[in-house]
């Protein structure tokens, strides 16, 4: 498998990657901005994501929600998402509508602010507060993805605070914040644009130049607070959360090598051996043999700066106590940490990772997103073609070295959810 990748910079600093492929009359336009919740200032948690909502509220030549309407009328799909270190926006359209998608993205990169109003901000603030209720506050275990990084990174670290944000901080956001954030971060020199699918490279190059070429560079961005953290957490941090849940669930996290580091790939293989699919160690031991868990998994968060997180997630079967669940997970982690893995286990993990990776390259939108990701986080869009080799280069010895340095008890953070205890005298 070879994904074609061509790339260049515009004079204003916009990085452009093109991946021409005529297998379906479909083209994906994908923009990554190097800004995420890590860039938020104190008192404005959740702002990067709220801002993402504002980008669908129109721009100089586009009305509120017209972005959605124009893309859907063209027969396309679209969305955006916010993460700790980036925000992305994407459309997949029938290929004869490529210019529409580019025009829409250029209009909001070049001229968002004329369309911003207090009413739109107030509406999207309420929408985001409802998103928070829906995905975090009114979901069992829903707070895990804001509690876990808070436990693993120190309070001053850009990854420590909540991505979706606190209700108070969301309430405090102003139109002035929108303007400042836009001018600072939504500039061509802080973005990566990928086009993947059915187009002609020379034509696309000209279209990108004509729509994005005149957008001025930014005036510079404040440096991020330092991302550097010690390689390990230095202790075993523990938090126990009483929640409206029926059974205990444990998240056990470790600081691990960042995306793209050579031992990152060993970490991916290690996660597959420990907790991916039914043949993994945790599934076989906890779900199948001992029947103490109904669900287990292990995965990396794929952070690219400072430290990544390697996470184990296990949900207890009814009747299993939090203590038994934790002991069972820890026993498997300790065994891996101390005794390592076999070459056979590595082979199984590599076979699964390979099928998954090739499968993830089928849709133009997914290919474009992967290319943007490698361009943004690793500075190299053609890394999309190197991932399989880097997985395949992982040996049992490399996984063992990873397990020895990462999975020890000096580098753990556990977040245990337990059913809320009813105070005495109540039923």
């Amino acid at each position: 498998m070879q994904i074609p990748v061509d790339s260049f910079h515009l004079a204003n600093g916009l990085f452009v990657a093109l991946s021409e492929d005529h297998s379906a009359p479909v083209v994906a336009v994908n923009l990554w901005y190097r800004v995420g919740s890590a860039n938020e200032r104190e008192g404005r948690t959740g702002f990067a994501h709220l801002f993402e909502h504002m980008l669908f509220q129109g721009s100089e030549h586009v009305g509120a929600n017209e972005h959605f309407e124009l893309v859907q009328r063209a027969g396309g799909t679209l969305n955006g998402s916010t993460w700790l270190e980036r925000t992305n926006y994407f459309e997949t359209v029938p290929s004869h509508h490529l210019e529409l998608a580019l025009w829409l993205e250029a209009d909001r990169m070049g001229a968002l602010l004329p369309a911003m109003t207090q009413e739109k901000l107030d509406t999207q603030r309420d929408v985001v507060m409802n998103e928070r209720r829906w995905s975090v506050d009114n979901q069992p275990y829903g707070t895990w993805w804001e509690r876990l990084p808070a436990l693993c990174f120190p309070p001053t670290h850009p990854f420590h605070h909540s991505l979706i944000g606190s209700m108070d901080d969301l309430a405090a956001a102003t139109l002035g914040d929108v303007a400042e954030f836009f001018r600072m971060y939504y500039t061509p020199d802080n973005a990566v644009l990928t086009i993947a699918g059915d187009f002609d490279t020379a034509t696309a190059r000209a279209l990108v130049e004509s729509h994005f070429g005149a957008i001025p560079r930014g005036a510079g961005r404040p440096p991020l607070r330092s991302m550097e953290v010690p390689r390990t957490i230095g202790e075993w941090k523990r938090a126990v959360i009483d929640d409206d849940v029926m059974v205990p669930r444990l998240f056990l996290a470790f600081r691990s090598p960042v995306l793209g580091a050579s031992d990152y790939y060993a970490g991916c293989v290690c996660a597959a051996i420990l907790g991916q699919r039914r043949g993994s160690r945790l599934y076989r031991a906890l779900v199948r043999d001992r029947e103490v868990a109904s669900d287990v998994s292990a995965f990396t968060w794929d952070l690219a700066k400072g430290a990544d997180l390697f996470v184990v997630d296990a949900t207890a079967r009814p009747g299993t106590s939090a203590a038994v669940l934790e002991a069972a997970v820890v026993a498997e982690v300790d065994r891996l940490h101390q005794d390592g893995v076999t070459a056979d286990e590595v082979e199984r993990a590599l076979a699964l990772l390979e099928t998954d990776y090739v499968s993830s390259m089928q849709a133009a939108g997914d290919r474009a997103d992967a290319i943007s990701k490698f361009a943004t986080l690793l500075g190299d869009p053609s890394a999309v073609n190197e991932q399989l080799e880097r997985y395949r280069a992982v040996t049992a010895a490399a996984v063992n070295a990873f397990a020895r340095t990462v999975l020890g008890d000096d580098n753990r953070a556990s977040l245990m959810y337990v059913p809320r205890t009813v105070p005495e005298g109540q039923t």
Partner: protein, 455 residues
């Protein structure tokens, strides 16, 4: 500074992947759609053994049987089967929907023959050990227990129960309820497999980087002699619980949001109004730019999103509008939903709304089928519901031919404001009284922990 709004170019040609069909010596049907883009092959076996066929009291048997297929074969136990699949870089997913049981995997072409052999072994000679069946039952019961505090799943499950008559299979979840799952056992699983799984009820669909000849060879070798005679599916009675509106509140103390479901019994997949209803629903609540989503989200900011859908099944599945709204606006949100249902029945949609919906549905068609798995799933739907061979080549034209009048006729025929069931999972203390003021009936308040078996 940006250039003027661009005009579209000429649309490129598109054809849904061409499918070759053949029947094996034992009668099993095979569909192959070669797609030579990436080194991937997807295999999807569908069996006429879905949850719709569960008999009363044994709800969940079809789902349990399908899940147990992946737990080992006569030749190898669960761990050995899993190991064999995963060493080929794939895992087999099996499960039952309303109208079919399915087993699926995706693998690289070099490993296709070995993976196909394992899939065939699972279909023909599953192990069904007592330990595995009991464990899967316990996992389903654990899921149902957890659902008591998970508003979305709870709302879906309770909504089905208030929409359909207690005697309809659709009133209970495809996976079964606590009482029905508890009585299932290995003997019932074996009997279900014997009665329902065979060449006559099975279609194997293969899509991706493979030739029909290679698939024929593998299929004939591993499934050609499979010819056991089996029963075909019985039909579901999709009768409504009540002909009039009703309001139901499932209490969840201190919930910051109400998880809402509003709807009624819909229409079967084979209904002649299918295309008009799909377009009508897209305008009403199917798209981000639909009336209901724009109203509830972008105008009123009651919610993160609101959506409507007809759940397409062989018999009449539910029509449902789903959203989660801030508790204080529960009644106001229901009022807006009712207004939108009334509005789309009162007057024709605008030409502009029709244009957006039909262009979206027609245009997005190639984007939906970019993966081998999605093409296999589409061919499966066509096989399950007996759609004509030209279904995919004529789909876009049929969507585009729907008119404003068709939409109005479909809305009047298939939306029933007088039969709406409104269900909210939320803080009963604060939302029940405002909901009563909607005059759709006195809210019936229940509790998430009630098992809800009709007794």
């Amino acid at each position: 500074m940006n250039a003027p709004r661009p005009m579209p170019g000429m649309p490129g040609p598109y054809e849904f992947p061409h499918a070759t069909r053949f029947t094996l010596s034992g009668g099993l049907r095979v569909i192959v759609a070669p797609i030579h883009r990436l080194p991937l092959v997807s295999v999807l076996a569908i069996v006429d053994a879905g949850a719709a066929g569960d008999v009363s009291g044994h709800e969940g048997l079809a789902a349990l049987t399908a899940a147990a297929l992946a737990e080992g074969t006569e030749e190898r136990d669960g761990p050995a089967l899993t190991e064999a699949c995963e060493r080929l870089g794939t895992s087999v997913e099996s499960g039952a929907d309303w109208d079919d049981a399915s087993v699926r995997l995706t693998v690289t072409p070099a490993r296709f023959d070995d993976a196909f052999a394992l899939l065939a072994e699972m279909l023909r000679a599953p192990r069904f050990s007592v330990e595995d069946v009991e464990r899967l039952k316990a996992e389903r019961l654990a899921e149902l227990l957890q659902q008591q505090v998970e508003p979305r799943g709870l709302a879906d499950e309770r909504f089905a129960r208030v929409v359909y008559s207690g005697s309809s299979r659709y009133a209970r979840a495809a996976g079964g309820s606590p009482a029905s799952v508890r009585v299932l056992n290995t003997a019932l699983v074996r009997a279900w497999h014997t009665a329902r799984y065979g060449a006559a009820t099975t279609t194997v669909i293969v899509t991706g980087d493979v030739t029909p000849e290679r698939v024929y060879e593998a299929a004939e070798r591993h499934l050609g002699t499979w010819c056991r005679q089996v029963q075909t599916m019985s039909s579901v009675s999709a009768t409504a619980r009540t002909p009039t509106c009703a309001v139901h509140v499932v209490g969840k103390a201190d919930a910051p949001q109400s998880e809402l479901r509003v709807g009624h019994v819909g229409i079967p997949r084979g209904h002649p109004d299918y295309f008009a209803v799909v377009v009508m629903n897209a305008i009403l609540g199917g798209l981000f730019t639909s009336r209901i989503n724009l109203n509830l989200r972008e105008v009123h900011a009651y919610t993160y999103g609101a959506h409507s859908a007809f759940d397409w099944r062989r018999a009449a599945g539910p029509f449902v509008i789903g959203t989660a709204v801030k508790s204080e606006v529960t009644d106001a949100a229901v009022r807006e939903i009712l207004l939108e249902i009334t509005r789309i029945r009162d007057a024709e949609v605008s030409a502009d709304e029709l244009d957006l919906a039909t262009k979206y549905l027609a245009g997005v068609f190639p984007i939906r089928y970019e993966t081998t798995g999605a093409v296999a799933s589409a061919l499966a739907v066509a096989a399950i519901y007996g759609l004509p061979d030209d279904y995919f080549s004529t789909y876009r034209a049929r969507i585009s031919s729907v008119t404003c009048d068709d939409v109005l006729v479909a809305a009047r025929a298939h939306l029933h404001p007088g039969a709406l069931q409104v269900l909210a999972v939320g803080n009963a203390m604060t939302i029940a009284e405002p909901l009563a003021a909607l005059h759709l009936g006195t809210p019936v308040v229940t509790d998430a922990t009630e098992d809800g078996e009709d007794s």
